[in-house]
Symmetry: C2
Subunit: 389 residues, 2 copies
């Protein structure tokens, strides 16, 4: 186990009907709010009205900016930054999924900065001196952004998707009501499940030794989500499975699972090209990339892939052939993704070999190598895309 | 899963040599410190000097109060409260195990209160308006007090042991260096392991349905500690096992495992009489009480006790006889405690039947029933003590 520091300021408010209290939590942090959301769903299902009512009840002023889309665009966030400055807001309230929260974090970052926030933070990686506090009402368990330090934004004109992380970006509160996920299309629920598991993978596949405790926590989160994902798809209004998935989504990415271990994150970088260029949902992209990545790297640590197969999918260990056990685990993962109606090959989403070179170039645009479990250069990344065809 | 709120302000600083940075973390919160510790061990092994050096380096003034013993006494905490007021300290630094931290929390509670802190907080259960911040350098993974909201104090003249919890009692930082546990006597390491597992039990044995995620996290912590406890006893300077135990100790009691579920805490209340009256180490008392409690209540939920036996101790499930599987799990737990050289019966520590009546009376002194998994009245408690004879 490596030395680490960990703290997490996000207050989680979890459970039925909790969103009606959003004003009570907001007023602890701000008086004038930028209410940030996506497209129509929060209005369609009444969440918008509940949030507005709670803000009004607590005498909180607000201005609004909707329209956040999947793979949230820096252009909209820049609008938000201008609005937040002009209106002198002191709090950003994100009502939505990871895209809305990430966009809210980008606005929070830019509020106190005078220049181009994309260039300054995302491209140059500078530290902020001050950011606005962000609060969350979560509608889609997936990205884990509700209690993470990360935001991932897309600059469409250059088709660049970039992450930025800073401790100050952890939301001050996150309201998680599993009932709000009842109306999600199954495709989005599935993408969320894939994303949650992917966040665990990025920590689980590590070369750091003696990390048994976090290994066990990772496995616990994976098995829970793998069991409950299909239940939620089958019965969209099953509170129990929705709750397991929602809490798992936050814990998978709040930083606990990575304590004391080197994380990987190659697959996320490889996937980002699929979603940035083809606007594929991030979860669907991960369902395609992770099995390919695994097939490319599993020989690097057969005992770990054997452990994965056994502990997560219950594959019986063949001690004389760990390779077979490892491959069986990867196969089970693909079967699981298929059971969620997720694509597992690029061809299923219309991406073919012609795009591989450009995607691999973009993946290595800012760095020659990615990943830590196995360091990958551009040729490795090309090979992984080929395995994903 | 029940509705819940969760947040945890404690910053964890984990790993080798981290204690030399204590001044850097302290100065973020205070300028004049009450340094609180136990008896000789921190001086004997050089920790005292490291801490003092770091405080001086950071120009932090300090006064000292040592002498905290196991089952920390409210009398010493009252001395600490007087000293903290007289010296106008603005921070309490606890260097030690759970007893020292609990005592530091009691001082932090009392600092801003004019009357009798024991009576006001512990007995009457009043809320504090303000408490001093507490920082921790942990030397014994066990109580989990380093990132918990709880303090448990003992008033010796009445032989009363009482817990008190409040969000403001979470330490602002906790430095966890597994190397500092190398010099622990094996008896203390064992008591710590028992205590950590007990904190998981108090959450795991719950009637709340659909809590799979936290069930899995509980099992992950239990299996890790059960595996690594004996390794640390065998080789006191094995960093890996010491680290697993230390991080597990914090996670077992930081509140995550109890999210969304009703906790039990009957066994802790029943044990408190053993440690309050006979000054037995809390961990040793728990090793005696938990198997007895389990034997008394397991029929209440055979599937859960079967799951425990299977997931934690690898007992094969006999579907046609869950009772047998459950009992086998309890037997394995007793065997595990014995392997740690822990007592599993009161007779081993010189407590006999004559004390049962008074212990049961004290357990029900402030409440007619204890526990939630199974509600226990005085006669139930007597029966459990008898099973522990």
């Amino acid at each position: 186990m490596l030395n680490f520091e960990y703290d997490n300021k996000t207050k989680i408010i979890f459970g039925k009907n909790t969103e009606v209290e959003v004003g009570n939590y907001t007023k602890l942090h701000g008086k004038k709010v930028l209410l940030h959301y996506g497209r129509n769903s929060i209005k369609k299902y009444g969440l918008y009205n509940s949030v507005i009512a709670s803000l009004k009840e607590n005498n909180i002023e607000f201005v609004e900016l909707g329209g956040v889309q999947a793979n949230p665009r820096i252009a909209l966030a820049k609008e938000g930054i201008e609005l937040s400055k002009k209106e002198n807001v002191d709090f950003i309230l994100a009502v939505g999924g990871g895209s809305v929260i990430d966009s809210a974090k980008a606005i929070a970052l830019g509020h106190y900065y005078e220049g181009d926030a994309w260039e300054h933070f995302f491209i140059q990686g500078n530290q902020p001196t001050k950011v606005l506090p962000v609060g969350v009402v979560l509608t889609l368990p997936a990205a884990g952004s509700e209690s993470s330090v990360v935001t991932v934004m897309t600059k469409k004109d250059g088709e660049i998707k970039k992450g930025y992380h800073h401790d100050s970006l952890r939301p001050v509160f996150a309201i998680l009501n599993p009932e709000l996920t009842y109306t999600l299309p199954n495709y989005q629920t599935s993408c969320g499940v894939v994303d949650i598991i992917a966040h665990v993978f990025e920590r689980y596949f590590s070369n750091t030794e003696n990390v048994e405790l976090t290994d066990r926590l990772c496995e616990g989160i994976m098995t829970t989500v793998i069991k409950n994902g299909p239940i939620a798809l089958e019965n969209n209004e099953d509170y129990a499975s929705r709750a397991e998935i929602m809490w798992a989504g936050a814990l998978a990415h709040n930083g606990i699972l990575g304590t004391g271990r080197v994380e990987d994150w190659a697959s996320h970088a490889i996937e980002h090209q699929l979603s940035a260029i083809f606007d594929l949902a991030h979860g669907a992209g991960l369902a395609i990339i992770f099995p390919a990545w695994m097939k490319y790297v599993y020989r690097h640590d057969l005992p770990r892939f054997t452990m994965f197969a056994n502990k997560v999918f219950g594959v019986e260990v063949n001690e004389s052939n760990l390779e077979e056990t490892s491959l069986k685990g990867i196969e089970m993962l693909e079967e699981f993704y298929k059971s969620l109606d997720m694509p597992i090959r690029m061809s299923e989403v219309g991406i073919n070999e012609d795009s591989i070179e450009i995607m691999a170039s973009k993946t290595t645009q800012f760095t020659q190598q990615i990943g830590n479990f196995v360091k990958l250069n551009k040729q490795d990344i090309i090979n992984i895309y080929k395995l994903a065809l």
